[in-house]
């Protein structure tokens, strides 16, 4: 009977396509909006993602998330190095610097100052030059997006000329030389990222009493990072987090204090509602149109159980196709635009599962209405003309 159920479904082309379109749209909207949201949220802690070596991050106790910089005294590094279980600890600077562009305008950049000796905290991948070139006088490494985008120069024909190794740049009235181009994970603010040494960054930065943004540390082999974090908190009075915990903190901060979740959830809910209304309504109409035939099958001896399975199969088939098309389109959109633009798009398997659950929910709700109608249908309906 399942073959006949499918033929009944596919045979009604207009409704079949209508249901598929509704579910595809719902699936596309839910997947795409969730993936953009996930992409944006992962950018909030992109700096932590890019710096993989430390397993402990020490910050001022008032810090609520990664961009909430509350500078500490440089001497804190020495105190942390003295805590039992700490293998090494290095200073990191993170702050905004203004780059003066060729046309006289200014561009705010994210400056990362790495430990002068070890250069720990550097970019994950170099495109040109080497990380060690930062040791050259006034050397900086630019991220590729920044070098090709916001910091790029304009040619005589108006075309953008990316900054390259050897070019110069003015940062807070200091001339610096580009010694490398790197790739970084896009930041939340999408500003260009500039890597330099800690001492140079603190020289470029507006003068303050305290300039140390973070202390990146490593637990000794065999030591549990969480335990060392607790020890640092106890000994220094500072906050120490593992990267995962710091990411969580940042993630929940943005979740709680920005309107982003509401915006994206609204779009996702819209997709869900559109799915329920368009597909649910069309599927219900499809069942109503076929009620006489379901009644005929019932009169001819088809059990309620078989009819229920037939309707469920129809719902799951359109759900599967709609889900596949929606997720496929969303992935294609992400691959196409994500590669060419700086649009945040992150589609982990968990999101695919969430979309699948949402589409399943839409299908089952639609099917439930139809099933109720068919279950209550008296087979005597077949004798009504």
């Amino acid at each position: 009977m399942y073959y006949y159920a499918l033929k009944m479904l596919i045979g009604d082309r207009a409704k079949y396509i209508g249901i598929i379109i509704g579910l595809t749209f719902a699936s596309l909207l839910i997947t795409q909006q969730s993936a953009i949201f996930a992409g944006i949220m992962t950018r909030t802690f992109s700096f932590l993602t890019d710096v993989s070596l430390p397993d402990i991050w020490v910050v001022d106790p008032q810090v609520q998330y990664i961009d909430d910089i509350k500078p500490m005294q440089d001497t804190k590094v020495l105190r942390i190095r003295g805590v039992k279980g700490v293998e090494w600890a290095v200073p990191l600077y993170k702050g905004a610097l203004r780059a003066r562009l060729e046309n006289g305008t200014f561009q705010t950049c994210l400056a990362i100052g790495l430990d002068d000796e070890t250069l720990i905290g550097g970019p994950p991948r170099m495109v040109a030059g080497r990380l060690s070139d930062l040791r050259r006088s006034d050397g900086v490494i630019l991220d590729q997006n920044g070098a090709e985008g916001k910091l790029a120069r304009s040619g005589p024909d108006g075309r953008r000329i990316p900054l390259k190794v050897g070019d110069t740049l003015e940062l807070n009235d200091h001339r610096v030389y580009v010694v490398g181009i790197c790739e970084v994970t896009q930041t939340f603010q999408a500003n260009p990222v500039i890597y330099t040494t800690y001492s140079r960054a603190t020289t470029f930065a507006p003068q303050e009493r305290k300039l140390l943004s973070f202390v990146a540390a490593k637990a000794k082999a065999g030591e549990d990072a969480e335990t060392v974090c607790a020890r640092i908190r106890e000994v220094t009075g500072l906050m120490a987090y593992t990267p995962e915990r710091f990411k969580e903190l940042t993630f929940y901060y943005y979740l709680k204090y920005t309107g982003m979740p509401v915006n994206f959830m609204t779009a996702v809910a819209l997709g869900f509602i559109v799915g329920i209304t368009i597909s649910g309504q069309t599927f219900y109409n499809f069942t109503l149109d076929n009620l006489r035939y379901f009644g005929t099958l019932k009169a001819m001896g088809t059990s309620n159980r078989t009819l229920l399975k037939m309707i469920l199969l129809q719902a799951l088939i359109v759900g599967g196709i709609g889900y596949g098309l929606g997720v496929g389109l969303a992935s294609a959109w992400g691959a196409l635009l994500g590669g060419r633009t700086q649009i945040a798009f992150y589609l982990p398997w968990q999101l695919l599962l969430i979309t699948a659950a949402a589409i399943l929910c839409i299908c089952l709700s639609s099917a439930a209405l139809s099933i109720r109608k068919v279950m209550k249908l008296e087979p005597a309906v077949v004798f009504r003309s």
Partner: protein, 256 residues
């Protein structure tokens, strides 16, 4: 009452009782809005017999065949179909019984438009648990028996004429070898010539193979195909007329 009518039971040429109804009642709605559709119907139908139920609209013909076919539960009285009382079994068992023992022919054909003619005919077999391929093969054979154009077997019902659709519906009613066939206005959507052909076919394929046929009709042109005609009025059988010629020829066919 017509003087040539007699009261049941009269059908000596038909050996086995297929349907026995005694004092069957059925009403719809409740309270002041209640409508008494059947007010104590007594009726017997035997195997090999073609019984026509006639009467004005709203007299309870369709309700009666619905009760007999087990698609509607009676309120009172007794009704057995091949010895089976539907009220004594569960709804599921009734559905199974119906699927196995009863064939249906509907006024509006009720052929599923998205299935081919052969697939429509195969449906009762698939419902019984037969796999699709052998079911469709048997359906094709049945369609040949009802004289359905072989080239049209894979056509959608919407591409068929009324007569062709009714042949498909008859094939569907017969394909699983039911013992009782109930037909609701089988010729009302057909022209006179096609209606006659359909009735000839029903007699040939159903009555001759010792099945019982109950046909609800308004169509006086097909009365001649009946063995007996039961007239209904206001929820009761008011008289039953036996057409001797058909009854005798049916008995002859069986003995041959």
């Amino acid at each position: 009452m017509n003087p040539c009518m007699s009261t049941p039971p009269v059908s000596t040429p038909f050996p086995q009782i297929a349907v026995r109804c005694e004092g069957v009642t059925k009403s719809f709605g409740t309270g002041a809005a209640a409508v008494q559709a059947l007010r104590g119907v007594d009726l017997e139908v035997r195997t090999g017999e073609l019984l026509m139920l006639v009467g004005p609209s709203g007299c309870g013909k369709t309700t009666l065949i619905s009760v007999i076919a087990g698609v509607l539960r009676r309120d009172g009285g007794a009704c057995e179909v091949f010895g089976q009382d539907y009220l004594a079994i569960t709804e599921q068992e009734t559905t199974r019984f119906r699927g196995k023992r009863i064939g249906f022919v509907f006024q509006a054909f009720n052929l599923i438009p998205t299935l081919t003619a052969a697939e429509n005919v195969s449906a009762p077999l698939v419902i019984q648990g037969m796999s699709r391929k052998p079911a469709v093969a048997r359906a094709r054979e049945m369609l040949r028996q009802v004289g359905f154009d072989e080239r049209m077997q894979d056509s959608s019902p919407v591409d068929l004429s009324g007569g062709q659709q009714q042949r498909v519906a008859i094939a569907r009613a017969l394909v699983h070898q039911p013992n009782l066939i109930v037909c609701d206005e089988p010729t009302s959507a057909l022209d006179s010539e096609t209606g006659r052909k359909v009735m000839e076919l029903m007699r040939e394929l159903a009555v001759a193979t010792n099945r019982a046929l109950i046909v609800v009709t308004h169509d006086a042109r097909i009365f001649e195909f009946a063995d007996r005609i039961a007239r209904m009025e206001d929820g009761r059988i008011t008289g039953i007329e036996t057409l001797k010629t058909n009854a005798a020829s049916a008995a002859e066919t069986r003995s041959a």
